[in-house]
């Protein structure tokens, strides 16, 4: 069945400033088509929006098309298209959403991710007058497909991209946007928005998967150690007479190896909350130094940034430091590594508390995998450093650690060691900075 449907007028309902650009749509069996709609013209830039729609047939293949789905919006009406027939549709209407939505959208919009905003923009553009460029990018929403790009896509890609760079996250709208532009350029614009978007989605999917795979590989050295250490913590919680849910809660909220062991120790000492607070601070004080290396790296959106900071344990810090040298600022992978590590830890804590008495397995010494991890990182850094100067920070660290260990003993040396290393590094700053430049 083939035919042409011409649409002579579209009542866009909530989108009064939309107007129809292409009116002829080929109907070819059950097939996805694209309606191109211009959105608005502003300062010589025309934004375009594409809506995918599907023609549905009621029954057998030769029966007429009785429904056109503008995806989410089912448009029923007077447009049966017989085989080989051309027909004009009058008055396609997009009034599909209740008025109440219109009100709430404007209020909620401020908190939403860009993809959702772009979708909502279609529903109620007035709410977005200020942030037009931010939201009119491109969005996938299960049913409605919007592909908004600058009209002069082929000539003006960079301008469009540059405008987006600082506003979108690496895996958000921007990736889709650039992929879909890549595709449209490849196809010399002879493609529909839907096709471009399928391509962009696939590419984005591949990208996420390959990052996740790499993140998993990077997180593997931690797996055994975290499972074991978490397990040991879980056992302690159970021995103190608490249920496994408490182990889960502390794995979720505290997420610190030595900090949690301290917590388990204080479970037996019920009157010591202030002392506990002080000791926890001292034990975890080494974390004060970790953030310094990631000040300019963690700058995603609010929640992601908070989580990246929250999850900066010794092990995650070391793995991320390794990553910092290889591929600077690969934030999605860093976040995935942090999440995987946290997952291993949570799993370990819960398993330990659940099977506290059931498993007689002796795994004494598995915790050495943490030591081994740090050693491997030191070796890596040592090998990649070319000169003695490059190796000086590690040497200073080692000397500070040994000196303070000998002077202060194994329980209280770490914070002084870090401070001493910090001072030594400051003292050698001029020398080390010369090398950098």
């Amino acid at each position: 069945m083939k035919g042409n449907v011409a649409i002579d007028r579209v009542d866009f309902g909530f989108f009064p400033h939309l107007n129809l650009l292409e009116t002829d749509v080929a109907v070819d069996d059950i097939k996805m088509e694209v309606l191109r709609l211009a959105v608005f013209e502003e300062q010589s830039a025309v934004y375009e929006i594409y809506l995918d729609f599907t023609c549905r047939q009621a029954g057998e293949t030769d029966s007429p098309v009785d429904e056109i789905h503008l995806d989410g919006f089912a448009v029923r009406g007077d447009f049966d298209v017989e085989a080989g027939e051309d027909r004009t549709i009058r008055g396609l209407s997009l009034h599909a959403f209740p008025k109440i939505l219109e009100k709430t959208i404007g209020i909620l919009a401020g908190f939403l991710p860009a993809e959702v905003k772009a979708f909502l923009f279609l529903l109620h553009p007035e709410s977005f007058v200020k942030g037009k460029e931010e939201v009119v990018l491109l969005a996938v929403f299960k049913t409605v497909v919007i592909c908004a790009t600058r009209a002069n896509v082929d000539g003006n890609v960079d301008a469009g991209k540059n405008q987006l760079t600082h506003k979108s996250s690496p895996f958000g709208t921007q990736a889709l946007f650039s992929y879909s532009i890549e595709f449209r350029q490849k196809m010399k614009r002879g493609c529909t928005g839907g096709q471009a978007l399928c391509y962009a989605e696939r590419r984005k999917g591949e990208e996420i998967l390959s990052t996740l795979r790499a993140a998993f590989q990077k997180s593997l050295p931690i797996l055994a150690g975290y499972l074991f250490m978490g397990f040991a913590f879980g056992v302690l919680v159970r021995q103190a007479g608490y249920s496994w849910l408490w182990a889960l809660l502390s794995a979720l909220l505290v997420y610190a190896g030595s900090g949690q062991f301290l917590l388990a120790a204080f479970l037996f000492d019920p009157q010591a909350l202030p002392l506990f607070a002080l000791t926890t601070f001292l034990v975890n004080s080494r974390h004060l130094f970790y953030g310094l290396s990631f000040l300019t790296v963690f700058r995603g959106k609010g929640l992601r940034r908070l989580y990246s900071i929250f999850s900066l344990t010794d092990e995650t810090y070391s793995v991320l430091c390794g990553l910092l040298r290889e591929t600077p600022a690969c934030q999605p992978m860093m976040l995935q590594i942090a999440l995987l590590h946290h997952l291993y830890w949570i799993l370990g804590c819960c398993l330990g508390a659940i099977f506290a008495s059931a498993i007689p397995l002796k795994l004494e010494g598995v915790d050495f995998s943490m030591t081994a991890l740090f050693l491997v990182i030191v070796v890596e850094q040592w090998k990649s450093a070319g000169s003695l100067r490059d190796r000086l920070p590690a040497l200073l660290g080692g000397m500070s650690a040994l000196l303070t260990l000998l002077l202060l003993g194994p329980e209280h040396f770490i914070l002084p060691a870090l401070c001493l290393a910090l001072l030594a590094l400051l003292a050698f700053r001029r020398f080390l900075e010369e090398e950098a430049s």
């Binding site: 004494e364 050495f368 050693l375 870090l418």
Partner: protein, 105 residues
């Protein structure tokens, strides 16, 4: 409020604060002083070595079982890594050796 919940909340708060303090001090929007950026660059290698010492801090030189497992396993990790440069192999091999030595000695 159960005592364990108090402990968890206190630990969570303090741990997060220690991790977040650098970001609070030099965070978004403010210009990070050059000396802090310098420290951020040179601290990781120093901290890694300190962490190694921290992990091995309970080594005692008095008896062979006090220092042999940690020392031999560490040497094994370094040697394996210099030889094959495969993190998983070095970590796995060193850990297995350590467990074996603990069991034997």
């Amino acid at each position: 409020m159960p005592y364990i919940l108090q402990l968890i909340l206190v630990a969570a708060l303090i741990t997060f604060l220690t991790r977040a303090l650098p970001f609070l001090l030099f965070g978004r929007g403010r210009e990070v002083p050059a000396v802090i950026l310098y420290l951020g660059r040179v601290l990781p290698p120093a901290i890694m070595v300190i962490l190694v010492v921290y992990c091995l801090r309970h080594i005692r030189l008095g008896t062979p079982e006090g220092f042999l497992p940690g020392l031999l396993a560490s040497v094994a990790v370094i040697a394996l890594h210099l030889w094959k440069r495969n993190s998983l192999l070095s970590i796995g091999g060193g850990t297995l050796l350590y467990m074996l030595l603990l069991y034997l000695l």
